[in-house]
Amino acid sequence: MKIDPPQSRGLTAIDGAMALIVILLMVQIWLLSATLESFLAGHREAALPGAVVSGVLFLGCLALYLFVVRIDAEARKG
């Protein structure tokens, strides 16, 4: 099915946001793994920075999700 240009632009924006979320998520998974390894090795001082950075990454993902929701709503409206 042919998609008109504005819709196509919306899809491109959503795809870009999704790609960014995937990258943030990969970093977050690595961060959790590294923090856990560090914690299990007895280095408890890494837990706080790990949690802070993970929170920032989550907020980034949330912002991108809200962006996707907004684009979706606009596309449905017209």
Binding site: I14, M18, V22, L32, G42, A47, V68, D72
Partner: protein, 170 residues
């Protein structure tokens, strides 16, 4: 999901097929993005859990316990003992005439029991070929990423006494 429809609402088919084909591309992407964001939330909660564990961590009180007599083992000999509690196996190795080392026997990869390979002079995990240095418990090879927790020993007269664990996680 709505259980009852209001009489004045849209036709029934719109309830069952509420999204047009063109809109479906958006819905799929939005749902997948939601899934990714929830996964991100789960990662964050995991980090918060580690933070909470580290805040409420209390260092255990290690008992002093005689693990062997100094002359009991020949050079290269080993002995298994429980420390700091029953069921927590550790391995004592006499590495030289006047040198003894002890480590937790639990591999830091998947908790298999490590053993002392005398010919290679290292501790080996038979499950996934993880090798540890006998000098300090550091990882030499294999999937483990953390060194073996070390049992600090003191020699008092003719006895070897375990006094605490080092490098042990919470």
């Amino acid at each position: 999901m709505k259980l009852f429809r209001r009489p004045s609402s849209a036709p029934l088919w719109q309830d069952e097929f509420s999204v047009f084909t063109a809109g479906e591309r958006y819905v799929n992407r939005r749902q997948f993005t939601k899934f990714l964001t929830l996964t991100s939330l789960a990662m964050f909660v995991g980090n918060l859990w580690i933070l909470a564990r580290s805040w409420f961590y209390r260092a255990p009180a290690y008992p002093r316990r005689v693990v062997a007599r100094a002359d009991e083992l020949a050079v290269g000999g080993t002995r298994i003992f429980d420390y700091p509690a029953a069921g927590m196996s550790c391995i004592l190795v006499r590495t030289a005439t006047d040198s003894w080392v002890a480590y937790s026997q639990k591999c830091t990869h998947l908790s298999c029991a490590v053993y002392y390979a005398k010919e290679q002079d290292r501790l080996e995990c038979p499950c996934h070929q993880g090798f540890f240095s006998i000098a300090d418990g550091a990882v030499l090879q294999g999937p483990p990423r953390r060194p073996l927790p070390r049992v600090r020993l003191e020699r008092l007269g003719g006895e070897l006494i375990a006094v605490r664990m080092e490098g042990e996680g919470a």
